[in-house]
Amino acid sequence: MSTAAQSRATLETARAPNLTELGVFSAMWNEHCSYKSSRIHLKKFPTKGPRVLQGPGENAGVVDLGGGLAVAFKMESHNHPSFIEPYQGAATGVGGILRDVFTMGARPIALLDSLRFGAVDHDRTPWLAGGVVSGIAGYGNCIGVPTVGGETYFHPCYNENILVNVMCAGTLRADAIFRGTASGLGNPVIYVGAATGRDGIHGASMASAGFDEKALEKRPTVQVGDPFREKLLLEACLELMKKGAVIGIQDMGAAGLTSSSAEMAGRAGTGLILRLDAVPRREEEMTPYELMLSESQERMLLVAQRGREGEVREIFARWDLPMAVVGEVTGDGRLRVESEGGIVADLPVRALTDDAPLYERPLRPERGLPSADPIGTLPEEKDLGPSLLALAAHPNQGLKKPIWRQYDHMVRTNTLTPPGGDAALLRLKGTAKALALTTDGNARYCMLDPYAGGMLAVAEAARNLSCTGALPLAMTNCLNFGNPERPAVMAQFAAAIEGMAEACRALNVPVVSGNVSFYNETQGVDIYPTPVVGMVGLLEEAGRRAGHGLQREGDLLFLLHPAREAPLPPGGAHEYVWVRCGQEGGQPPAISLVAEAAVQALCREGILGGFIRSAHDLSEGGLGMALAESCLASPASRLGARVRLPEGSGRADGRLFGESASRILVSVPPASEGRLREAAERAGVGLAAIGAAAGSALRVDAPDGFPLLDVELSALQAAWCGALDEVFGT
């Protein structure tokens, strides 16, 4: 804690804080808990909407799904612990986000993981990636929540600072939302779940510190997850909530007992007494400091109705979990901590929460990458086949099945669209509806231009949902940035948020929860700014959905695009250039949000109306990769395509692999062509006929008929399926 902050702490209590109090202050005022550098910027997000039942500020956001049903969701980072101990770091990250969701009274139904690792040839990457993936699998599979989607990207900017972001969604009754509030004078404060140990003390501070060479020496700040215990906790909490004895509940995440108690009292405007002697513990001679700051996993704090402690005890006994009354709600606005008959901390709750320091850190935008498009340095090839194969065989664009095959993505039998598609779709049993989920982010775009990058991330997430037919409803995020004390990083942060907020407004997707992870740096080098968007959408009729795979020989292929733009603009083939020569630069794709909204609306209309049979958005690798993925989507019945590029200017490779925004590749039964044309006309969306599904090869010709590539699907599939062998072995 800085001296300035310390003196303020002293002022608030009108006396010098003791060691325990200092620990509490330092944990609560830490970046991770207080959002001191980010709060003023986060206010720019739109957070309201007719469907929003709970916006940011709670453990998770909640959105109405109609028919009495709602969905709670949130995303969180576990970057630093996962770099030190990839298996347990990632596993406990899953545990934490699950608790955030079931705390709201929701039953978790899906997990998604957004991962960033260093270069594939960096010596730690295989160990880190292997450990993270098996850690996510180890926790999620055991607790029985399917991991249905995510993203994985390798880039040297993450060599020494990987990103592990996990999103969880759960369903609940719209009229039975639980919140983390400690209200009602005299109500008991109850501790449930695992006993407290010395593990993870100062985890919250670690999450807010960059890595130096001593990172590997840091001691048990990493915890071991116990997914079985979490399953018991989940079932017991949901059962208890059903009984109605719970007033408020919150998980003990970062800064454990300290933050859960202070935040619950803060939200209710009350105070709390905590009696540490009653806290279940698994180690001897723990000090109040340790008890208050331990980050032992699988624990919750709840406030129950007075007199109903017995019910709580009974339920937790049945699930073989410790339960203890550790305090009560008071009206004096103070957090008082008792231990062995004495008061060991006595602090004003407001000083810890609402009145925590707020920084308006200086901003100074800096260009992170050259502004010239490096494609000019590449020789133009006549045959683009080898380039497509190289792109498909690159770990960033290759099939991620070696990852998601380790995740139980089917448990609960709701997964209509498993990982591999634009968005995951889960049916909601007992209704006709399905929920669509995706995570998206492109750090390179943000490095080139954080404002545009933020906008593009939101647009792509929404587009991915629209490609299944689902209407985007709301989003969460994980804002992974470098050191906020550097004005260039702060400028990236501020601009990315403005871009995201702008897109949220234009596309009607309020932000209902989120997470900030700063200090993603090693030895003074920051990661690329990496805001990740997690978005939820709703499909009213699960039966009317689309996937990205081509379905039938003879179906026509169209490109939906903004009406005033060429179907494929020149340039911006970032991933293609990166794979071919390792260079980055230029501009992120241009985007008009109005046109984006129109393209998405048409895609949804076509899917619901039954005249679009498959839809796939263009992202990294442009039309070339989108075609490849659509041809290979169903390995057992892969289907080729014969395509002619629409007219346009610029190099052929730049257009074929260009990453233009707001484009969707759709396949349409020949008989439906008229309906699509009419609808596009009405919607003011551009439509380019580019070919048809046919044969067992992907063939692309230039507008003048000159062949650009002709690749057998068997060869394409082999390249694509083996892309991760280098990282995960065969």
Partner: protein, 230 residues
């Protein structure tokens, strides 16, 4: 005709089994909590997938001692049908109700994927409606599904017709590549000597609806229903 689905605290396919039996097959079904000692009048016992008690030591090692397993043992001793799916299979082998053991997958990784199974025997109540040689598509989702038994034990299983399912390719060939977890003799499912207890690693309950990618798994439940009705 009623099915009982056993529920351990770490079961996570209990609801999926219940859903498939009740809403797809249309049969009677109830849950039985692991602390119970009776199956409450069920005709068929289903031990579902999941992680019974966390399964940290060895899958199923602790579950075999639970009170409900006494009831399952009695049910089996009376010659009545018992189906163990995934973790249920692991538990039944640990309990000695089925032969062999399930090691960690040869790849050491959890695998969730579709597989094809060749039915090898119609003698169990769950496969009476399935011709030997028929190929079924179902998913697996496990980290410890690598069936093991010693060569003598294997010879005995073969001789007694206790091998019920083997991993195969879509054409029914038992190729190495189709044996995703490295099981001895491609074994995906076995029954006890009497044939009333079946255990398999793949998940028939996840392959019971078109929306889930296959309906082949339904046939196991329907077969048990038909046997009970006759």
């Amino acid at each position: 005709m009623r099915f009982a689905v056993i529920v351990f605290p770490g079961s996570n396919c209990d609801h999926d089994c219940y859903h498939a039996i009740k809403h797809v097959v249309g049969a009677g079904v109830h849950f039985v909590w692991h602390k119970e000692r009776s199956l409450a009048g069920a005709d068929v016992a289903v031990v579902p997938g999941g992680f019974s008690y966390g399964d940290y030591l060895r899958a199923g090692a602790i579950a075999r001692f639970s009170p409900v397993m006494e009831a399952v043992r009695r049910h089996s001793a009376q010659g009545r049908p018992v189906l163990g799916i995934c973790n249920g299979f692991q538990i039944l082998t640990e309990a000695g109700l089925l032969p062999g053991a399930l090691r960690r997958n040869a790849s050491l990784r959890f695998i969730c994927d579709d597989v094809w199974l060749r039915c090898e025997s119609s003698r169990t109540p769950f496969t009476q409606g399935i011709e030997p040689g028929q190929v079924l598509k179902m998913p697996i989702a496990h980290g410890e599904g690598n069936f093991f038994c010693e060569p003598e034990a294997l010879a005995e299983l073969e001789a007694n017709g206790q091998i019920v399912f083997r991993y195969c390719d879509p054409g029914g060939q038992t190729t190495r590549a189709a044996n995703l977890n490295g099981s001895t003799a491609h074994i995906a499912g076995v029954c006890n000597r009497e044939g009333n207890v079946l255990g398999l690693m793949p998940h028939p309950e996840r392959a019971s609806e078109r929306d889930m990618g296959s309906e082949d798994g339904l046939r196991l439940f329907q077969s048990a229903l038909a046997v009970a009705a006759s």
